[in-house]
């Protein structure tokens, strides 16, 4: 629970009045107490002296039993207005002589002192012998009256001091409290309206003025910071908005592209699979009826050769030849499609052995053409060994097949090129026109007639497919009539040699580079 709000103005006034009040009260009380005590003790001392004097003066009267003389002695007390009663008793305690201030009450000597009175008594002694006692009663009412007057004066002084203090504190309020009140008011305004552009007005030459200055500085700082903050926030918002838009756009574009790509890839894969399936199925299923056609054609040729006319024999020969060519076409087509579908696992292959195998397979063709086939030092690579043999065999076979008038010379070499090996197969054959450089790798593409060079036109397509399956590529350099160099690359690491997930069937129109084995 919060204590009720009290203004600093009230507090200042209260402090001033309280201090003045307490100071006045203490000083008044002290003075009064001192007055009271000192008056009493002074009076007592004076009365004792007086009593002693009277006692001395009345010794003889008591000794000589002279009451008249004693009364005369007591009567001298009239000079002291405080003494109201004096009583002289003899040694037996009997009243011997008396004095009363008021003549009316002269006869009446009270045995006991009244409350408002101050009484002392002394023994009357002569030569150590007590002759009686003297009692003096003093009326302190005039002292009390004086104290009352004193108190009244003090009260007046207190009231005057209070009024002065009040007036002074009002003045102090103007000096101290007013700037503070203004400060508080402005601070409240600022808090309520959240308006930091407001400033504290007016200043003084003391700590309050200092406070006002500092507050204003703080307000300026807050205001500046607010402005910066708002500006920064606006900029940030704009930037975020822009960036968001940009990102959204990018996302949309990318998503669209990805969708398109995925669709395309899917379509490609589907069509590729379809094609492969088609090629394999077609070539496989075509073999059976073709074999039947070829078999019966050979049977007709054997049984009826010479029994029909000469034209018939010739026609039958054409039919047999066609069937045979068709059979070889289908064989090649099957082997091409097998590159993708019937590959074996990769292993580290010593290509020197690969070269030897390829040369061994081409033994008949090499002997027929008296070709010289050589190789430089060859590396070991990660590859499918069977396909690598086929690749080299096809290239060397082509080099021998497309020979010119010269005895064919074939040289196989390998060279490190970055992370891969580049293999080169160089020959001194007929060469290839540069404009056909790309076309020769297309399936069933032939540059020559069947009469010039045999073959189905599928050899280089198989080579390209094998090279690509090994993440490599194949290309050629040639000068017509001078010779040809075929290059292909094979990766050095097992990573590079990983078979590519998908084999491609390069579409193309049939024509004629032929490879014979």
């Amino acid at each position: 629970m919060t204590p009720p709000f009290r203004s600093i103005r009230q507090k200042l006034t209260r402090v001033a009045l309280l201090s003045v009040g307490i100071a006045l009260l203490l000083s008044t009380l002290g003075a009064a107490l001192y007055e009271l005590v000192s008056v009493r003790s002074r009076t007592r001392g004076e009365l004792l002296v007086l009593a002693d004097v009277i006692a001395g003066n009345t010794t003889a009267a008591l000794a000589f039993n002279d009451a008249k003389a004693a009364s005369e002695s007591l009567a001298t007390l009239r000079t002291d207005p405080r003494i109201v009663v004096a009583a002289l008793n003899d040694r037996n305690g009997k009243l011997f002589a008396s004095y009363t201030r008021s003549r009316a009450a002269g006869a009446e000597i009270p045995a006991k002192t009244r409350n408002s009175r101050f009484s002392i008594s002394r023994a009357v002694v002569l030569d150590g012998e007590s002759l009686g006692t003297i009692r003096l009663d003093a009326d302190l009412s005039d002292v009390q009256a004086r104290l009352l007057r004193y108190a009244a004066l003090m009260a007046l002084v207190a009231i005057g001091s209070f009024l002065t203090a009040f007036l002074l504190s009002s003045r102090m309020n103007r000096l101290i409290a007013t700037p503070i009140l203004k400060l508080a008011q402005t601070a409240t305004e600022i808090t309520n309206e959240q308006d930091y552009s407001l400033r504290f007005r007016g200043t003084t030459d003391d700590e309050v003025g200092l406070l006002i200055g500092r507050f204003n500085e703080m307000l300026s700082q807050i205001e500046a910071r607010d402005r910066e903050l708002a500006q920064g926030r606006a900029e940030l918002e704009q930037r975020v908005q822009e960036r968001t838009q940009e990102l959204e756009h990018q996302v949309v574009v990318r998503t669209r592209a990805e969708h398109a790509l995925a669709e395309q890839a899917e379509e490609l894969a589907r069509s590729n699979t379809d094609l492969q399936q088609f090629a394999y199925v077609a070539s496989h299923d075509l073999q059976e009826p073709l074999r039947m056609v070829a078999s019966y054609l050979q049977l007709i040729s054997r049984r009826y050769r010479g029994k029909l006319d000469s034209n018939a024999d010739e026609f039958i020969d054409f039919a047999v030849d066609g069937a045979r060519r068709m059979q070889s076409l289908i064989q090649d087509l099957l082997s091409y499609s097998r590159v993708g579908s019937q590959a074996s696992a990769y292993e580290l292959v010593d290509t020197n052995l690969t070269f030897a195998d390829a040369v061994s397979n081409l033994k008949v063709a090499i002997e027929e053409s008296a070709a010289r086939v050589s190789s430089g030092p060859l590396p070991s690579v990660w590859a499918d060994p069977t396909q690598l043999i086929q690749l080299l065999q096809n290239l060397i076979g082509n080099a021998i097949k497309f020979r010119g008038a010269r005895i064919p010379e074939v040289h196989v070499s390998a060279e490190r090129a970055g992370s891969a090996w580049t293999f080169s197969v160089q020959d001194n054959g007929i060469g290839i026109e540069p404009q056909y450089a790309d076309r020769i790798f297309t399936i069933f593409q032939r540059l020559h007639t069947r009469e010039e060079y045999s073959g189905t036109g599928i050899g280089l397509a198989v080579c390209k497919k094998i090279a690509e399956r090994h993440r490599g590529r194949i290309w050629m350099e040639s000068t017509a009539g001078q010779g040809t160099v075929f290059h292909f690359t094979i990766g050095t690491s097992s990573e590079d040699a990983k078979p590519s997930g998908r084999d491609r069937v390069a579409p193309g129109a049939p024509s004629g580079v032929e490879v014979s084995a």
């Binding site: 003889a60 039993n65 002394r122």
Partner: protein
């Protein structure tokens, strides 16, 4: 102090108290003849005792060997007997001693009471005391004329006293002003 003194002396002072009380009665009521004479003697004795207390002697006059203060009674047996009741009391720091004289110069004394019957012959006798610090107390004005210092007189039935200061001064006695104030009459 006063109370203490009073308590210590209370019992011994009872006689003096009685005397004072009686003295007050003297002027108040008539009493039988023989009792009256006895009372009168006692009043005189009390007065003598009190005179001694309000008169100051020169120091050497009180420096007696036995430390006594002597009141001598010249030929008045009644007063002598009354005063012996007060013997032993202290006067000016000395023990009170009462002696009966047949002649003025029967011995050292501080106070000499002269009986009324001896007043007539006191004048020549007083010469023997000249210069000696002896307070002489007698009765009636003639005693003063005979060279006495204090004389007891009856005024309105009460005992009063008259003083001749000149005689006392000669004897180097200082009579207290308090005593003089009580005196019926004081003459130089």
């Amino acid at each position: 102090m006063a109370l203490l003194t009073k308590r210590l002396l209370g019992s011994r002072l009872s006689l003096l108290g009685a005397l004072t009380a009686l003295a007050m009665l003297i002027g108040a009521a008539p009493v039988p003849e023989e009792t009256a004479a006895s009372l009168e003697a006692q009043v005189k004795a009390a007065l003598l005792y009190n005179f001694a207390r309000f008169v100051d002697w020169p120091a050497e006059a009180l420096a007696s060997k036995d430390g006594t203060f002597v009141i001598a009674i010249l030929r008045d047996r009644a007063v002598f007997e009354a005063l012996t009741g007060l013997e032993g009391k202290e006067v000016h720091g000395h023990r009170l001693l009462v002696r009966e004289f047949a002649h003025v110069d029967d011995g050292p004394c501080q106070v000499l009471f002269v009986a009324e019957s001896e007043t007539g012959s006191f004048a020549p006798e007083s010469e023997k005391l000249r210069g000696r610090p002896v307070l002489t107390v007698g009765e009636g004005d003639p005693f003063l004329q005979a060279g006495g210092m204090i004389a007891l007189v009856r005024v309105d039935g009460k005992f009063r006293f008259r003083v001749r200061t000149r005689q006392a001064e000669v004897a180097r006695l200082a009579i207290s002003s308090k005593l003089l104030k009580l005196a019926d009459r004081t003459t130089p």
